[in-house]
Symmetry: C2
Subunit: 261 residues, 2 copies
Amino acid sequence: MSSARSSAGDPARTLALLWRDHAVVPRRGPSRGLSLDAVVAAAVEIADKDGLDAVTMRQLARKLDVAAMTLYTYVPGKAELLDLMLDAAYAAMPRTATAGQPWRKRLIAVADENRAMYRAHPWASTVSTIRPPLGPGQMAKYEHELSALDNLGLTDIDMDDCLTYLLTFVQACARAETSVRDIQRESGMNDEQWWAAAGPLLSRVMDEKKYPLATRVGTAAGTAHGSAHNADHAYQFGLQRVLDALSLLIDKASRRQSPAV
Amino acid sequence: MSSARSSAGDPARTLALLWRDHAVVPRRGPSRGLSLDAVVAAAVEIADKDGLDAVTMRQLARKLDVAAMTLYTYVPGKAELLDLMLDAAYAAMPRTATAGQPWRKRLIAVADENRAMYRAHPWASTVSTIRPPLGPGQMAKYEHELSALDNLGLTDIDMDDCLTYLLTFVQACARAETSVRDIQRESGMNDEQWWAAAGPLLSRVMDEKKYPLATRVGTAAGTAHGSAHNADHAYQFGLQRVLDALSLLIDKASRRQSPAV
DNA sequence: CCGTACATCGTACATCGTACATCGTACTGT
DNA sequence: ACAGTACGATGTACGATGTACGATGTACGG
């Protein structure tokens, strides 16, 4: 996989699994030792703790005290498993009731809920959901989030665009955070240590006269980034920018809908 | 790898390669059949055509008519190769001279240059550059892009933040485009076909009364997205939003610097 | 009470990155 | 001119990965 992707398996089979559409319940043979939910939950647990790469069929099987191939009686393959993991994560999200509040507050709640989900499941931020997992979790999430944009005078397509714009931003932030965490774990260095190691080497090998701005700004940014809470800062800062941008669309639409407001 | 990452190898070794710091030129043994540049160029070619996953040591070796292990005399490993590929892509970017133009035009040029680079090298959009490849290409790119934000009254850290904000947006757009392309190639279906396959299945399995907004908006967005140029649209639309957001910072800073403007 | 449907699982295969040992080449010191 | 050696190239091998295949055992329906 270039990057992990949702909905990479057979649509029919995947949808049946996501909606737990056990069309035919087996009537013969030994009873099952596990359940689909148990398999998915175990996979999510591994991914939460050790990252998506740690979710291998053998690892997962070991955790469930079962042979690797046994998993294939619960799930057609790894692609479908990923869809089930994502949809389960979506299904478990809290959905704050914000009806009656101004749209800005409602959208901030949506963003924060997503951020919390990515904090709990960092691996989810690395999955491309261009083709989303079409399960009950995703549907409930989508329904809830759209309600924050309903009755503002936006067209259906505008609603979807605005939501996508917001969620893309939150996912990009989460992805950056996840990346920092993963690379730190794999390299055994945090960013500060890495800069401390690479910085001197770099200035010995590059001609600082040739890149004056890069040297000056890079040094300033490097030391600032090494210091602290820049992920939080980037999120708060960026979210305000995103909401400002959306307000241009939303306020115009609202005015058109109800000129008094 | 959870996702591909730059600067995942040993910093010292990587920097020496990136800056072609051949400290000791070998004086003995057979002459080399290839060059570092040839190896990197071949890797980029494969990645451009068939995606980053297709860049395996064996594939690359086959393309260069050499045994797989031979590559390890040119490059310490795959992690370093990725850094070299990225830095080469950066180095090859055109850098439009926009001195004297208003900052908005300059930033649009920066964004467009990056977009063009990602179009030429879609795999580059999938690489996390939280720790950037500290090579001459990256430096030249950074120097050039910072110059578009220089003399606007911004602090060094603001300059870096603004640039990062812009480039993150462009990369997110490119990543989406790449994802669409990759998933289409792998699944053998374009998005329209996929929706056509999954849509009916979904509506049979889900209770549309339970998700009224999702059904209504999802259908509208689904058909609209199936139609056409939404990647371009998302880029143009989003870029304007990003620039609007940045103008709040920049105009304020400029006014502080030169109240007349 | 047997046939059969089904869960389980051991083995095997192709793929990956790369460690290691070997081989042959071409320069260096005499 | 020749030996010693540094170094490029490469064949083989190892431990991962996802999963196809076939054997084994279980429990229900006739």
